[in-house]
Symmetry: C2
Subunit: 228 residues, 2 copies
């Protein structure tokens, strides 16, 4: 029984990688850079995007969002106020509410996205620190948001997610004065599981530090093209 | 492909339910009440247990903890200071770090637990708002912890988890003065997806409200026996 289960999971990952490559080719054809944005529930992905994407077109970056949720369109509704194209992808037709986006779910949504009118596509994944890290969707970069309210131990407890991402946004720093929290210890824990990762300290609520992330996003399309 | 996948998942859930019933029979034989405690990462399950379990033996309840994590034993180490039996169960041998405890994982750990010396066993699940709700482990009650830092929309975005639990601990209320957060709206959203649920407002950090949860735990063994 156990062996059967493992074999099937491997097949599913093989199939996922094949579809992720097809997504990648479509993204390349449209010259669009793609970010897979992940976090635990409530870490502030949407609030960060509300802050960072506003007016990005004025900086020459045409951005679109693919919004993944188990149910509802709360985040997509929030982001639509930014006047960027937002496509909602709900996973609740999957087994009990799929806990992640996979390459095929993203592929299903591609037809609804104006890829050739975008420079940057942000895929906001389902809030979950485990499963989304296991499924490539064909993105150029994986970014995670971790909130200072979640405790400093999360990189050690969820190492796969922290290893999978190249940029960690440490959010809600406006709450630091009210927490027993050592942000240096969090960064040391991140460095332990992913020595090459970049970290940024931000507050999506106050806007502090968000400009560094905005500049990272603005530079992203150029970087992806340079990297081939 | 899709049909094949669905069939296998159903088989896995059938097998899980069979094993959950076997766990349930073992728990009944030992007259131990069992709680499946779930939350998003960093919502404060362990901090809540540190507060609520201390000295519970003085109230006539012998408690043990089964601690589920993807990797590490950080939470088990914290709880061992309470001088209650704690058994660590790591899921990282599973596919990419299993994102939940299932009945068979719990069953594997039962031999390490002094079931006949316990009145109450608390199974602290992996931090995840999706997958743990899908797998019965044979518990009497499912409880979730949600943190006020996660936003009021979570019951609507993760309805399966909020429907699966009978008690919701709303944690970190000490942070309310520093958040743009409407706790009444959270409770209204909980009532919308799970009208019968009980909610408790607590701060595991300050201890506020924890006594109500403690009293709930103390009454739990009696309730479970009454319920058969």
């Amino acid at each position: 029984m156990h062996r059967t289960k493992v074999r099937i999971v491997e097949d599913a990952l093989d199939a996922n990688n094949t579809i992720a490559r097809a997504n990648r080719e479509d993204f390349d054809r449209a010259s669009v850079s793609v970010i897979n944005l992940m976090s635990a529930p409530g870490a502030g992905k949407t609030a960060l995007l509300e802050r960072a994407l506003a007016g990005l077109a004025d900086d020459g970056v045409r951005v679109g969002v693919l919004e993944g949720d188990v149910a509802g369109s709360f985040d997509a509704d929030r982001l639509a106020d930014l006047h960027v194209p937002v496509t909602q992808l709900n996973t609740d037709n999957g087994f009990g509410g799929e806990c992640h986006l996979d390459a095929n779910m993203v592929r299903t949504a591609l037809g609804a996205l104006p890829l050739f009118e975008l420079d940057l596509l942000i895929i906001e994944n389902v809030g979950n620190l485990v499963c989304p890290a296991e499924f490539s969707v064909g993105a150029d970069a994986r970014i995670m948001v971790c909130s200072v309210t979640e405790g400093e131990d999360k990189p050690l407890k969820y190492p796969l997610m922290f290893r999978a991402c190249e940029l960690m946004i440490i959010n809600k720093i406006d709450l630091l004065p009210h927490l027993d929290y050592d942000i240096d210890r969090l960064e040391a824990n991140i460095a332990q599981v992913n020595p090459g990762a970049t970290t940024m300290r931000v507050s999506a609520r106050t806007g502090e530090g968000v400009d560094a992330f905005r500049q990272w996003l603005i530079a992203m399309p150029g970087r992806a093209v340079t990297a081939g």
